[in-house]
Amino acid sequence: MVSAELKKKIEGLIKENRVFVFMKGTPEQPMCRFSMAVEQILHGMDVDFAGYNILEDEEMRQGIKEYTNWPTLPQVFIEGKFVGGADIIAELAENGELKKLLPKS
């Protein structure tokens, strides 16, 4: 069960940041191949994003998976909406769909 407090925290983060990634490591230093793939795709498109390092927060690491009903990380949110993990982001980048989802900067 995701505690009300954690839910509030998650929703605050995804609403305050147009592109938000729950990841292993940070946007400056991803610590897993999948998190790095997301970072490279987004930065490659000149998209700045904020990240939450779930390696430093076990509660969030479990909580976010329950919140989105999604078992793996990283998890990418655009404009407050859950878009998917590294494999989905890669596919959307490839077929041009990702650009359409991203906020105009």
Partner: protein, 80 residues
């Protein structure tokens, strides 16, 4: 995090996908030497967004994910 193919795990994954998505085409691969890739083509995916297609796959593999036996996998889905 890395996870490579282990024949027993492959069988378990294939069985679960066959059960949840009968008739689906499944390809498994770990040729990048670091992560498993699972490609599933199923008629059930028609009309669904990628996120929901992947959710169906994760749901089929739910017990493996819950136990930690499976923790890292790249999923590719396509409607048949």
């Amino acid at each position: 995090m890395c996870q490579l193919l282990d024949p027993q795990l492959v069988t378990k994954i294939e069985e679960r996908i066959a059960k949840a998505l009968p008739g689906a085409d499944v390809i498994m691969d770990d040729s990048d030497g670091m992560h498993m890739a699972l490609e599933v083509k199923a008629a059930e995916f028609k009309g669904l967004m990628l996120v929901d297609q992947h959710r169906m796959v994760y749901k089929a593999l739910d017990d493996l994910l819950a136990s930690g036996e499976l923790h890292s996998i790249m999923i590719k889905t396509k409607a048949n």
